[in-house]
Symmetry: C2
Subunit: 200 residues, 2 copies
Amino acid sequence: MTAVAEIQAPEALEISPAKERLLRVAIDLFYEKGFERTTVRDIAARAGILSGSLFHHFKSKQEILYTAMALTTRSMGESAEAAVQGIDDPVEQLRALVVCELNSIHRESEHAAYVLVDEWRSLDSEHREAVLALRDSSYERCWDVALEGCKARGLLKTDAKIARQFIRGALAWTRNWYRPEGELTIAGLADEVLQSFLKN
Amino acid sequence: MTAVAEIQAPEALEISPAKERLLRVAIDLFYEKGFERTTVRDIAARAGILSGSLFHHFKSKQEILYTAMALTTRSMGESAEAAVQGIDDPVEQLRALVVCELNSIHRESEHAAYVLVDEWRSLDSEHREAVLALRDSSYERCWDVALEGCKARGLLKTDAKIARQFIRGALAWTRNWYRPEGELTIAGLADEVLQSFLKN
DNA sequence: GCTTGACAACCAAGCGCTTGCTTGTTTTTA
DNA sequence: TAAAAACAAGCAAGCGCTTGGTTGTCAAGC
């Protein structure tokens, strides 16, 4: 019998308030310094406990990262589904998804979306698969529907798959230059994205 | 007197063949596992020497990263300048720069471009500034010229600065899905990029 | 032509410190 | 009063880096 990993399915993760507080602290630190440079002592200190006490809540540092990423993925999927609900026009679906992604990068949930992108490599492979499967079944599915809809109406300049990747890249990169406090609003930025990637 | 950092100006870096070999090994490992997870013992072992001997060539692990990033930045700047040389049409300048960037991500120099993007946070701030200054004065300048040229001819759908960021994001993201061994060539991918971001 | 000295490259050993995590016990909470 | 949460202490392993000495190379000096 090979070592069984016993990964908690992300759909089934239940989080106590105490755990949630620790996760918020951990996510902040992962955002500030990265997973590898963040020590369990760092996390514990900012949470006001000793490092050993962390392991009462999580069985390893890796499990902290996994839990953070799985929860973030789950909630981003839920946001995406909520965003397109009741919208039939694929262009408006796309706009809603762009706004939704920009919000999760620039507004919500204490940098959780940053960690999701940056620390992918620090997540070991079994956990990675679990998170990926969850993302494909919720978040990515919403995007596929919207983009295929645009494609069917002849609104895309390129293949839907390529457009998806271009848009995803452009949105992910906004974290390196865009600040929602400035003149350009998130809705305005979303307009620019649609204008760039759709025929007009 | 505060501690003086004594950073080697990236323009003045001279690299012996031995150092270059070590840098190649280090870059490969940084690409595979990340800077933090790569130990000096890893680098030395793959290079066939003992870990202490590394410090005969570099005075710290940090200096290995800095040297790698500075050299990569320098050579990417040179490539960009060579790519646009003799081209007057801003659209063709842009095409050349896109191809150039795609090449450095997907073809050349043992993943050096990956490391440049991924390990930015592991570079400490003084070194970061030095690399950034070099990039702005060569690589970014080429892009600015090309995009302002497009803008002046009314070919851009958005502000030149925003277009720059969208394109940069889309190109950087290609590493997560595009493989040059597949059906789509780099020139073909560059076509798709131009078609997406320029008026047609 | 052989010796000498200087230098770069590397080895062998290990120091001081930090890391993730464990254990046994005490405090807090419900 | 029992379970949950936190403490106190520390272990084993691994980390970047240092030190002192051993090679191999090659040009200058007699």
